[in-house]
Amino acid sequence: MKRKLITLLAAVTALALLAGCGKAENGQTAASSPKQELVYATVKDINDMNPHLYPGSMPAQGMVYESLVENTPEGIKPLLAESWTISEDGTVYTFQLRQGVVFHDGEPFNAEAVKQNIDAVQHNAVKHSWIKLSTKIVDTKAVDEYTFQMTLSEPYYPALLELSMTRPYVFLSPKNFIHGETKDGVNGYNGTGPYRLIEHQTDQYAIFEANPDYWNGAPKIKQITAKVLPTGETTYLALQKGEVNFVFTDDRGTDSIDTEAMDRLIAAGDYQVVRSEPMNTKVIVANSSKAGSPAQEKAVREAIWHAIDRESIARQIFSGKETPAETLFSANVNYADIGLKTRAYDLEAAAQLLDDAGWNVSDGGTRTKDDKPLSMELYYDAASISQKTQAELIQNTVKGLGMELKLIGEDSSSIANRRAAGTYDLLFNQTWGLAYDPQSTVSAFTSESSYYHATSGIAQAEQLYDKINRVMATTTEDQRKSLYTDILTIVHDEAVFIPVTNGNLTIVAPSGLQGIGFKQTQFELPFENMFFE
């Protein structure tokens, strides 16, 4: 009897525990999700939102801060600056600022605030040296309340483009500066953007509220919450339940949930999937300057190019989320639509190139030249399953050609070190992305800490570097077009950057959400244009 009683008690306790839980606070389903509110899943916390440093989440910073100008598919457009003039010698930029703009804390946005922000960025110049503009600004001046002037040491055509980026040349209320600086931290995050950060619980969530005083009219989506969800399984379940109703590709280009999960959500009718145009290109970088490496030879690099089945990689490894890439930059990148001759997946052509270059098949099946085997090391990011799978597929294909690829998975920092030191034959990498391409990736061709080793071994290296230096100082569109055509043709002909796929940005959003679009960058979204029907 006693035993029965114990069993019964245990059962009742268990039931009470479950039944007593009640409804969850956020228990709405996707179908009845509250209007004008989005909750997006993010793998990482929004982190330090100081716009003049780099740890913060770029999509979150993009909502809060704004730049002087905006990069659009049609070119540079006004944002916080209504208009600007550039001196004839291309060194003095004078901006007429938008009037009546205020920071989230009520501070006025004016030329003095612009000067203070840009000076604060420049005081940390070493950290910002990746953005070439920071090395060229020599003077800033608040001419009058709404006129700001910036002087460069030499003409630099991407100046406006670099001013349009998510960071660092965006504006924070000077009241948030500490001792007039931002390099050692700030005491608040008041920008001029369409949303303001009103609550942040580290590693839990951050709430952004529509800025009612936004100069371009208050956004229709009234609240955006960034909810930290580290695992894709939970994100998928939270989307099903409606606790989260918006997901997009993160900064590193990783989808929070897989394609099958997306398909199931769409099939249920509550969600839609929207994909952007190509945003970047995933490439295999060949080290043209490594002594003794077969990667020094153009024929070998071209053979690898021909041996990559991009269609299969895009379709099978990326489940159709990426598209095959034929050139370093996709045609939607500025100055990149120049009709370069593509190299198709063609194993016979690859074999012919190797034969012609004197790499003959030996008894063991491996090609050799001067008793040296055709063998190289391909480095991939050990944390990326897709890179590993691609590497294995390519290894298998080129084995049939008599080429040996040794696959080595390392963490991303080690790969960056190898790229800087030149201790690699081949490695996986990707271009900087839409807003930064072609100028930032092309600048990196000459940089010791970036692609210098990849480009310095090619026959026309000196010419290439000269053209790169010249293109950055061009003052006319025609000069720029002509120089970029030459630059992109040289690296394409030399096959030092072997394209694989184009990555894009993916959004999973409630089916009733309208106005979904993308910016000219993979790092932020125009939430202010979105609204529910």
Binding site: A24, P55, K127, T231, A416
Partner: protein, 310 residues
């Protein structure tokens, strides 16, 4: 007993110093330049030579290893573990709230684990070999062998999505505790209840139990007596359960988006935020040493013979 406590506690000090040295040394053995690690952790798009030199000097990384270790150790005594490489904020400001969140989850789970382990262990021992005993052991074997990630996903799917009873994740209200606590309890109670059961069974066959029965003592009193004696073995195991769970909530925290030590550590490891990793390892080592000492003290209090042996 006072002397025993003092001696036992003093023994923990050299152990902690050795652990702290190993932690510091391991992080410094990384083949990467620490200054570069800092810059990459901060998301700086391009690391240049000038930036590396500046960062090295700013962080005092150009000083000899032992001096850096000594500085770090002395600052640890003041609960200052340096600043996060990523955010630049004090490590304690990150670790403190995460530790408290994990501790809350751990304490609730440990209570549930204790209740289930002792309850089911006693029940099974008393029902040894019968259907109830075999069923409970079978079910617990099944549940314990399930990967906690899978179990967690299934629980969220059923209780949060399908029944809409509980939140899927986060730490918003008391309801948020239920699923993570169930997953942790299922994972550990299955192991610990066997221990209680077997130590109860060994007491069941002791002479004093037979004698008590022969004397006609009430069955409930005999059970209590057996439980008290078998607890001595279980004490050390249960004491160690706290730091073990404290250090192994990574999977559960990731899935339930619990803002605790597990989540913080995974992010720190991915971002190579060494000051946070060092402080985490030290914190965990301290909790292991503390709870080990505590279990020795409890056992010594229960059995005076142990005090003399020491």
């Amino acid at each position: 007993m006072g002397g025993f406590i003092l001696k036992r506690s003093l023994l923990a000090v050299p152990l902690l110093i050795i652990i702290s040295f190993l932690t510091f040394a391991l992080n410094n053995l990384s083949p990467l330049d620490p200054a570069e690690v800092v810059l990459r952790a901060q998301g700086v798009p391009q690391v240049t030579e000038a930036l590396l030199m500046e960062t090295k000097a700013a962080l005092g990384m150009d000083r000899p290893f032992l001096i850096r270790y000594f500085d770090w150790l002395t600052s640890c005594f003041r609960l200052e573990f340096g600043n996060s490489y990523i955010t630049g904020t004090a490590v304690w400001a990150l670790l403190g709230p995460a530790f408290m969140n994990t501790l809350k989850l751990t304490m609730v789970s440990v209570i549930a684990i204790l209740a289930f382990s002792v309850g089911l262990g006693v029940l099974c021992a008393l029902q040894e070999g019968r259907l109830l005993d075999r069923s409970i052991r079978g079910i617990s074997f099944f549940l314990t062998s399930m990967p906690s990630a899978w179990l967690a996903a299934m629980m969220i799917w059923y209780f949060s999505v399908k029944l809409d009873w509980l939140p899927t994740s986060g730490m918003d209200s008391w309801a948020s505790y239920i699923l993570p606590v169930i997953v942790l309890t299922v994972s550990y109670a299955g192991i610990y209840f066997r221990l209680v059961r077997s130590s109860m069974l060994s007491q069941l066959h002791e002479d004093y139990t037979l004698y008590a029965r022969a004397c006609g003592l009430q069955e409930s009193k005999i059970t209590l007596m057996m439980l008290k004696n078998s607890m001595q073995v279980a004490t050390s195991v249960f004491c160690m359960a706290v730091p073990i769970i404290l250090g192994s909530t990574v999977v559960v925290e990731s899935i339930f988006a619990w803002p605790g030590l597990g989540t913080l550590t995974v992010n720190s490891i991915l971002g190579r935020d060494f000051p946070v990793i060092q402080a985490y390892v030290l914190l965990l080592a301290v909790s292991f040493v503390l709870f080990n000492t505590l279990s020795d003290l409890i056992n010594a209090a229960l059995d005076p013979k142990l005090r003399k042996e020491f």
